[in-house]
């Protein structure tokens, strides 16, 4: 009876909706227009990000465009005076029930495997821009899916650096599902790496990765494991570079509880353009260095349970280490603990408390250095009447930096929110630290990681009003008007993290889907 059908992610944009012009012609996409005005010096920024696909029957023309004036304040401070900037990506797409083909310049995440992420740049965490072709095909007949094939080729590009890399990647993955509960994967990727800055465009490395995996699942547990081999060549050193790695995850579902275990062992598997999966208690990549290190080993275990009615608990522990330089010489240890309790009080109040501790220990010869972060948080969410909801949250991050003479950085954040029906939202947030921060932009830096940032400011107050509406023709719109100051740093929403610049002033944004 079970019939797994081909599942392709359809929307080009994360917030895409759709406007149907006729049965065979439609436009879908999303647009975000933002205006920022800095309070102190009146400096203004505007930008617009448009992602759209125009579909005619099964064919589409896609555009991902970004217009900045001047360049967005997430880049280097020295670049803020650039008059304007734009980035336009164009691609063509064909899609039916079995094929999804793209050619051109686009962003695409290919999943968590050991090889298909070879073209991703671990320096930028989440960056997947490819200029080339991508083909997904699903093999389905007899009422079920028997497998799927992915092939990609082209160049990866760095939007941030605006440099034209000539890195080339080509590869693919085949998945075969002989039975509904079991599948086998095989994949291979070849990537030529070029570092423009240091080598003036000459190829500096070759990376070839092959992997095979097994996966399956049934009602009470599932699992997946993949083993990869790397065969590379370092042009500068004129020597072969070899490595291998294993990644696996098993989850068991018991009555009122689940247990999960994840394991990784990477021995010289990664290079600059490879971001193998981390192991992490809370999937926030804190314990996954994702670095081009020679060796990484780690595991995590997590238990979730609903021991008594209305109470859910979750606990996790992860350990990972890095080996850089000589193999098997440990240079970093990362340990993470997580405890989370959620209590559903007599409806409609939900209370959630969490404690997370993350320790990083660096080892350099006989020297040991590092830091420990302790992060407690408390969230209360309340729906007193059908149309009204309130939420409050408090989080604290206390970082003891043993490298900086046991210096303690403290960050507190309190937030309160209110929503009315489906169209009005109000939010106020207050942040403070025991260190002062200058309102300058540090690309890729979390202010808490970067002591130089703490110079001018140590508290931030931000208020925001959000209006949402829907109409049949252009679907969802969200107008947000915010005023005050924000610390910036790493901001995560729905699992996607980005670095935001510290800011003081007015922000108006209009997000639309169509």
């Amino acid at each position: 009876m079970f019939r797994k059908t081909c599942v392709f992610v359809l929307a080009a944009a994360a917030g895409a909706g759709a406007v149907g012009v006729t049965d065979w012609l439609s436009v879908n996409g999303a647009n975000e227009a933002v205006y920022l005005r800095q309070r102190e010096d009146g400096h203004r920024w505007t930008w617009d990000i448009l992602q759209t696909e125009v579909w005619a029957w099964r064919f589409a023309a896609g555009v991902e465009a970004e217009f900045d004036h001047p360049r967005r304040p997430v880049f280097e401070t020295k670049e803020l005076d650039i008059e304007g900037d734009e980035l336009i990506q164009r691609y063509a797409r064909y899609r039916d029930d079995r094929f999804d083909l793209r050619a051109g310049d686009y962003d695409k995440t290919l999943g968590k495997g050991l090889t298909l992420r070879s073209y991703e740049d671990c320096d930028f965490d989440v960056h997947q821009r490819l200029d080339g072709g991508l083909a997904d095909a699903c093999v389905a007949f007899g009422g079920r899916e028997w497998g799927d094939v992915t092939a990609l080729w082209g160049r990866n590009k760095h939007v941030e650096e605006k440099q034209q890399d000539f890195d080339r990647v080509a590869g693919g993955q085949v998945t075969i599902r002989p039975v509904d509960f079991f599948y086998v994967t095989g994949s291979g990727v070849k990537a030529d790496v070029v570092e423009n800055v240091e080598t003036a465009g000459r190829k500096t490395g070759e990376n070839t990765l092959y992997a095979g995996g097994l996966g399956g699942g049934w009602q009470y547990f599932d699992g997946y494991g993949e083993y990869a081999v790397r065969d590379g060549y370092d042009v500068a050193l004129r020597e072969d570079v070899r490595g291998d790695g294993f990644y696996g995850i098993v989850t068991g579902y018991l009555p009122r509880s689940s247990v999960s275990f994840q394991y990784k062992l990477y021995d010289n598997l990664a290079y600059r353009y490879n971001n193998p999966p981390p192991v992490s208690v809370d999937e926030n990549m804190l314990t996954g260095p994702g670095s081009p290190s020679l060796g990484e080993w780690g595991y995590y275990a997590q238990v979730s349970a609903n021991p008594v009615r209305d109470v859910r608990v979750r606990g996790g522990y992860s350990y990972a280490d890095d080996q850089v330089g000589e193999r098997d010489v440990k240079t970093e240890e990362i340990e993470q603990y997580l405890a989370n309790v959620r209590y559903d009080l007599p409806w409609p109040v939900v209370v959630e408390g969490q404690y997370e501790q993350l320790g990083k220990l660096g080892i350099l010869g006989e020297d040991v250095f590092g830091d420990i972060r302790r992060m407690p948080s408390l969230t209360v969410s309340w729906t007193p009447w059908d149309d009204h909801s309130f939420s409050t949250g408090f989080e604290r991050e206390e970082k003891t930096d043993y490298t900086a003479g046991d210096r303690i950085f403290i960050y507190n954040r309190a937030e309160a929110g209110y929503t009315y029906s489906s169209w009005l939202g109000l939010n106020v947030s207050y942040e403070d630290t025991n260190q002062r921060a200058q309102e300058l932009v540090r690309p890729g830096k979390d202010p808490l990681e970067d002591p130089d940032v703490y110079r001018y400011k140590n508290n931030w107050l931000w208020s925001e009003i959000r209006l949402s509406w829907y109409n049949e023709a252009f679907q969802n719109h969200v107008l947000t008007i915010g005023y005050g100051s924000r610390r910036g740093g790493r901001v995560c929403s729905s699992g996607v993290c980005k670095i935001e610049a510290p800011f003081t002033g007015l922000k108006i944004s209009l997000e639309s889907s169509f």
Partner: protein
């Protein structure tokens, strides 16, 4: 040592995979709905012969587009139910009810605050739809939303009701011929 560890881990996974013997099904669960009542799959299965689970969140724009479209035909088929599963965290789950009331949605809405159902079913992201029978079997799944996708769902629902075997007449059933 490393080789032994690798082999052990690989064997565990092979055992996991080969021990599997059943098709993908929805596990029995117990989640809150927006009115604060706990709902189990068994209770839903008693109400509906066929149901679509739509995974969504208040911050997901295409999810909202999809729910509006599905709402238009949610009540058109006897025995068919729509179950919207909110994946909002504890912080935003309080917004689900005001949003639903504001939109006038009448179908069931569950709060999967811990991601319990998401993990059990391997949902990769929002929006995601599963067509599930009362026996818990997943017979169709779909990822993402583009205008017109709701028609596919509707076709699958109609196909199911057209192809299903008619229920065997019970001992007390009276035929017209009889």
């Amino acid at each position: 040592m490393r080789t032994v560890t690798l082999l052990t881990a690989a064997l565990v996974l092979v055992a996991t995979a080969t021990a599997a013997w059943a098709a993908k099904t929805v596990p029995d669960f117990r989640l809150y709905n927006v009115d604060g009542n706990q709902v189990t799959f068994e209770e839903l299965a008693a109400k509906y012969e066929l149901m679509v689970f739509v995974f969504w969140a208040t911050e997901c724009v295409p999810c909202k587009d999809e729910l509006v479209e599905i709402n238009k035909f949610a009540g058109d088929y006897e025995g068919f139910g729509v179950v919207a599963v909110s994946t909002d965290s504890a912080r935003t789950s309080s917004q689900v009810k005001p949003y639903f009331k504001g939109q006038g949605f009448k179908f069931d809405t569950l709060l999967d605050v811990d991601g319990e159902l998401v993990k059990a079913l391997g949902i990769p992201g929002n929006p995601y739809e599963l067509l599930v029978t009362a026996r818990g079997e997943v017979i169709w799944e779909h990822s993402g939303y583009r205008k017109g996708d709701e028609k596919k769902l509707r076709q699958e629902v109609e196909k199911y009701f057209a192809e299903r075997e008619p229920e065997a007449p019970g001992p007390n059933d009276v035929t017209e011929e009889g």
